[in-house]
Amino acid sequence: MNLFWLLVHKDLRAELRRPEAVVSMVFFGFLLLVLLNVALPPGARLAPESAAGVLWVAISFAAVLGLGKTMSREKDNRCIDGLLLSPVSAETLFAAKLTANFALIAASELSIVPLFFVLYGDTFFRAPAVLAGVIILATGGMAATGTLFSALTAGTTRNEALLPLLFYPIVMPLLAITVKVTGMIFQGEPLAQYVSWLYVMGAYALIFTGAGMLLMRPVLRQ
């Protein structure tokens, strides 16, 4: 079996056996959706852009919660040393962690996104294929950034507290673009209106995957 799939399989099996990460992510995302709904005046509807903001606040907060998990599992019993002793390259390790994190975030989105439409109105539900594409691009970018930072914060004593402080400033531009684009989808604007932003999102995911591959080795070694 390929090393990459071996590592991904190990992480996902851990999650399937005891879905700690996904359950807490979905729970937290749901909680945020309800909490943010309180800000709405009774009977009022959110503008499409604001609704998009609510959705991505919920998803990204849930994502941060899950991102710390796959790396902190390697910290117990210093399993990370076992990986570093083996012939696995840091690049393969990064790619595998990225894939596992992507899968975790995507799994949480499968619940958070439908819950959003239930709570905030299904009139926003337009162009599902395009929306799925936007979600995949944004998730890729968040997972790439988060994977590198979770490896980094796992080496500090304040890992859980530090991760969001490093993660959010860096993904802020990606989230800003994602919210704007999602808002345009909710509004029913044509694809041509925002397709160039999708390229920027794709470029972000690619650049940060590349940077993570290069920087994973120094982050993990002393």
Partner: protein
């Protein structure tokens, strides 16, 4: 004192399988290793003694490539291991202070996972074999989370042997083992040595160490203060020598745990 030949501290260069060349390590403002050089022939069994904080674990870490030296290098077969680390690591096994096992996976799953990492051909059979050898075959389907320290240590030994390494590094492998398991490990190590594997072991246990060693080294305050082919002496004589070189009897600093 009738200690074999007191070989030069830079090690005997004719040996040829593994060479540590003038390795220094500074980390977080401390000089942990200073100019450590030694070399081993294939099939050697080096036992490394020294007080706590002498840099023994760091030296093993550098040989394993887990830690990169500040200067100097480690060579295997005349080639710097940092040139092609993946190839080197394929032939390496290590037992460290930590068990490096996944708590949520069973004993067998852990071994299968590590077997996969090393691309072991028939990893299922190899894993079962090793589980039998360390006496954990009956518990192979139990998650590691419920294992005692001794069981973890035994599984850790099996883990380190999964790829049938040419070079095995052992950091205090006897810790946490009961008498029975310790004897079992000692036999296993002697067996590996008999099959011309190269071993480097750090231990506080002078008798056990001397019984297995073909070479002995003492590390104190980051320096190799003694390095020689196995002295043909009793443990008592060796302890005297140790005390002379280190300034404290073996195990005296063992009380101050890290």
């Amino acid at each position: 004192m009738a200690i074999g030949r007191q070989a030069s501290f830079s090690g005997a260069p004719e040996a040829g399988f593994l060479a540590v060349r003038e390795v220094c390590k500074e980390y977080e403002g401390r000089r942990i290793l200073r100019q450590v050089s030694l070399s081993l022939a294939a099939g050697d069994f080096l036992v490394l003694f020294g007080p706590n904080g002498a840099g023994k674990s760091t030296l093993l870490g550098i040989i394993s490539t887990l830690i990169s030296p500040s200067s100097g290098r480690v060579e295997v077969g005349g080639r710097d291991v940092s040139q092609d680390p993946e190839r080197y690591k394929r032939r390496l096994g290590m037992i460290s202070h930590h068990c490096l096992l996944y708590d949520h996976m069973t004993a067998l799953e852990n071994l299968l996972f590590y077997g996969g990492l090393y691309g072991v051909a028939d990893r299922r059979q190899r894993a079962e074999e090793l589980l039998r050898a360390v006496g954990l075959h009956r518990r192979r389907h139990s998650p590691v989370a419920g294992f005692s320290r001794g069981m973890r240590q035994r599984l850790s030994i099996a883990r380190a042997l999964i790829n049938d390494p040419d070079l095995l590094l052992l950091d205090e492998p006897f810790s946490g083992l009961d008498q029975h398991a310790a004897v079992g490990l000692q036999e296993q190590l002697a067996n590996l040595h008999g099959r011309r594997r190269t071993l480097i072991m750090v231990t506080h246990q002078i008798e056990r160490g001397l019984a297995l060693a073909t070479r002995v080294a003492i590390l104190a305050a980051g320096r190799l203060v003694f390095y020689a082919a196995r002295p043909q002496v009793t443990a008592a004589d060796f302890k005297n020598l140790y005390q002379e070189l280190v300034g404290a009897p073996p195990g005296a600093s063992g009380a101050e745990k890290r």
